[in-house]
Subunit: 205 residues, 2 copies
């Protein structure tokens, strides 16, 4: 221990552990990986859950197309290789956030089971919560908020998940949010209750 | 506003802003970008500064070779293109952490001015603090903790910064830590004082 008189810093040599950061935050870092069809409600749920948690004094952050596709993954296209690399990089970033103590919501279709399983394999036990945002193709196509399904049916978007490319649902997700029948509020409540029960939200120090 | 009775969640619709997260943390997100020769002390300073801040109840996190080169950037080599892509990705990840409210220390040689300037250009005003960890080649080679300079001199490591590849020092860094003459404690104190004066450390709510 050395005291630096110029700034009152007491410097204890040593590395900072994840536990140290989680103690500061009063929560446990985790990757909440939302997967589902376009229009299933992934981003709506992610943004709403982030909002609820931050209102409660937790540190939560959403990774989604807006901040990833235009940034880190702006040099990736939509070939099979690039789609896998897209998910791989997101998984690595989610892992860093998890280790920093943040509750990170990842909101991407992520249609391939193997890509998602590769991300799970990066993470420690309990650090990866796979959430199927479950809405049928009919439900999603009926919503078609962005008009993408119409374009996909017209052949204007190739390799569109659910229409001309497969969606491989998780076999054993930690959680299923059935947005066919429940409201955003209900899905968020279900998700937050899961995190609470799992001890991720801790008690604010 | 909708109240969900099943879990006492009061859900206010709306997006979470960076300000919201920074209020939770009682600090301002920032990327502290440490640049300098191998052996200049970047990682030592980064790890020690992280430790001081976390001890003070701040959320700080270090990005370095250990968690980036083996993870996100494990598919990059050392060609000029790959070196640039390495720094680009680190910059994008640092930007995400900054937007999440975290104080992130980036510890990479990052020898090219243009690569660092590209990262700066990604960030908002005050979000990028470039820190030259300044030790002469003689000082670094004298330390040679990992024996890398010896190998580089023997021609066993090609394109080694300072020996067989250039290091372009920042022209206008926010901070210079002269590790030729000052201790780790002094450098950390100087860095933390800069962050404190700049209002990054706020007041814990």
């Amino acid at each position: 221990m050395a005291e630096n008189k110029s700034s009152n810093i007491t410097w204890h040599a040593g590395e900072t552990t994840r536990d140290d950061r989680e103690s500061v935050l009063g929560q446990r870092g985790v990757t909440v990986w939302l997967t589902g069809l376009s229009g299933s409600g992934k981003s709506t749920v992610a943004v709403a859950a982030e909002h609820v948690l931050v209102q409660r004094g937790r540190l939560a952050y959403v990774l989604d197309g807006d901040n990833i596709r235009h940034g880190l993954n702006s040099n990736l296209g939509f070939s099979p290789e690039d789609r896998s690399e897209n998910i791989r990089r997101i998984g690595e970033v989610a892992k860093l956030f998890t280790e920093s103590g943040v509750i990170v919501f990842s909101s991407f279709i992520s249609p391939y089971r193997s890509d998602r399983d590769n991300v799970r394999a990066l993470m420690g036990e309990g650090d990866f919560v796979e959430v199927l945002v479950d809405a049928s193709l009919e439900t999603c196509e009926g919503r078609d908020v962005k008009g993408l399904y119409q374009k996909a049916r017209a052949g204007e978007i190739p390799e569109f998940t659910g229409i001309s490319a497969p969606y491989e649902a998780p076999e054993n997700p930690e959680l299923v949010l059935d947005t066919n029948v429940q409201s955003v509020e209900e899905s968020v409540a279900q998700l937050v209750a899961y995190l609470e029960k799992g001890g991720y939200l801790g008690a604010k120090a």
